[in-house]
Symmetry: none
Subunit: 203 residues, 4 copies
Amino acid sequence: MTPRTGRAPVKNGGTRRGELLGIAAQLFATRGYSQTTVRDIADEAGILSGSLYHHFASKEDMLREILKEFMDDLLAAFTEIAGKDGTPRERFDALVHTSFATIHERPFAVALYQNESAVVGSLADFDFVGKTSLKIEKLWLSVLQAGRETGEFRDDLETSLVYRFIRDTVWSSVRWYNPRGKLRHDVVAEQYLAMLYGGLLAG
Amino acid sequence: MTPRTGRAPVKNGGTRRGELLGIAAQLFATRGYSQTTVRDIADEAGILSGSLYHHFASKEDMLREILKEFMDDLLAAFTEIAGKDGTPRERFDALVHTSFATIHERPFAVALYQNESAVVGSLADFDFVGKTSLKIEKLWLSVLQAGRETGEFRDDLETSLVYRFIRDTVWSSVRWYNPRGKLRHDVVAEQYLAMLYGGLLAG
Amino acid sequence: MTPRTGRAPVKNGGTRRGELLGIAAQLFATRGYSQTTVRDIADEAGILSGSLYHHFASKEDMLREILKEFMDDLLAAFTEIAGKDGTPRERFDALVHTSFATIHERPFAVALYQNESAVVGSLADFDFVGKTSLKIEKLWLSVLQAGRETGEFRDDLETSLVYRFIRDTVWSSVRWYNPRGKLRHDVVAEQYLAMLYGGLLAG
Amino acid sequence: MTPRTGRAPVKNGGTRRGELLGIAAQLFATRGYSQTTVRDIADEAGILSGSLYHHFASKEDMLREILKEFMDDLLAAFTEIAGKDGTPRERFDALVHTSFATIHERPFAVALYQNESAVVGSLADFDFVGKTSLKIEKLWLSVLQAGRETGEFRDDLETSLVYRFIRDTVWSSVRWYNPRGKLRHDVVAEQYLAMLYGGLLAG
DNA sequence: CATGAATGAGCATTCATTCAT
DNA sequence: TATGAATGAATGCTCATTCAT
């Protein structure tokens, strides 16, 4: 049950299956899905590659399961935030903070989502990726829109463009953010919100 | 062997070599480098895969050449802008506009840079990627810093974080920007600058 | 303990072992021995593949046991017929009728015998297949020969060829005979004997 | 170009592709399709297994091509015979003689047809097997039927059963007929026709 | 009797690359 | 320049079998 490497504990249900998924997620995120071989995963787990197929039907299956769990969790978290009381700005704050916190806590899943969702988007078994992404987009857009209506947010910008700019900035940070570095995720979120809200110009 | 000077591979500079590089760039960008086979490229070019080795030493060679030319051009363009007269804000405007214009004009090379630079970053033959990226980063930082010193830009934000936020937003747009769509690249640039400069809040 | 499909009960001793052999026989016959996996058998039996090894030493073991029982039974039946009183033609009638009846009653074992005996013929542990086949051949030849000597059967044909023609026709019918169809096995036997005895020509 | 074993020349177009198909046919027929590995074929051809894929898309592809060519040829031969002048009996004679001659000349393809057509019958890409078999059956049945109408053949037997009996006997002989033995194929055909026409009984 | 995890050998297939022609 | 045949290493996956529990 104890992982044989000193790696930071990866989220799993304490089961062998979950343990293997954690290893796979890390490798997929680090090397890329198609550059990661089934043997790589098995080696890291200390078993033979064929033994993985006792737990999973295919390599694709592992990727799907990792992405599915991540996206379900993410949608649930965002849905909860969007349904809370408070001003649109408060809810938007929470969305951004939660996003950076997610990058901190589940960097491999986020990286996977960033790097592989385009490749995998066309596969029928991965249709949930596009669908969930769309639901998330609608949630964020509804908060942005609500902010315009209350007068908190500017109304002279294309909301859909604003969303894309923000989404790309937030999730791209998985590429340079180091969960074990001294720059904390809530500091990053604060800095981003400060720039986003107040703008780059002085005065 | 065709001389390699003054040629724009992605725009097929008339040479067979450049034509092949353009095909490779498009496929690498669309499917990903490792998902693109040498045979894919050859098929698209109407020759057999083995024949490609008349023009290039390896598949990696093609990627390197595409990235090298792109990054050299990009650095040259940014260097020219940074050296011009005008306020920091004017020069920053030009950097952003040039970036979005580059995405418009050379989407495949930009996508390649976005998607593959992390993977190849460790390879010795691709050290120019990291080096050029660093030079570009210094250029942008110098403009941002100059803006702080002239009082145009806020000075209560971490400049290095600001740079990363901007860089990620700008280049990530290659994933959704459509060069043949009705949303023009200079409009995108204007919208982004409007949001970035003025901030998201009203008033 | 109860099989999960409504399949017609296959001959077995009422034991778990016999039940499993019945499932194996059906699958071996239907898909072919090498195309049937141990897991297929286990799935059909509602257990895990490893659990089969509680009952059998190997997959080959199952095939051997199925074939052995079938061939022993078949040889016993033919031996009894050949030892009975009556004319050679009467005994030959019985041989043919018994063969078609066997196809009706144990189609899976017959199919296995037809399809796999060539493949396993070389294996040392399956030498009983060739030996029993030879004994059966001698029995049939003795009846045919007796018929020639009594003058019932023609003597201008190669007996060994005649035997092969008949054997092949009889056992090949397992491929198209349907035990649950409306064409009964004894009708098939009668038709075959009518053609074989009287010939195809009119008059 | 010269095969390295002393094997009897297998039908092919003198091309490398045809040569490889001949080797595959022989191995498929001898060991069974699923028991034959692509390495077996490659070994026999003196190349590496991967190199086979320069010539064929898959192992299944090889089987399909072998079967397709065989069945097309067989149908063509039978079609020509059925269309000739002469009595039904003469045409039936020709059908049987041609069948045994085919077994002599192309034993591997015939064995493949006998052993694998059932397995492969369900695959969509092999639908030609069933279709061609049906055409051949109709041809034979038309000749048998014509013989009944001219009064040459008995009319008290089920024609479809008669066809199956004959078909099975003829093609099953591929299992024991030795093309290089002293028993010639036309002798086998004569013996079979003698038994079939005149019947087994004396007088 | 059965499970569940694992083995280890093997399989069809892919693919960048080489090279004689 | 390009072809066509081949290499050789690797890849995802299968499967009979073992064994501690």
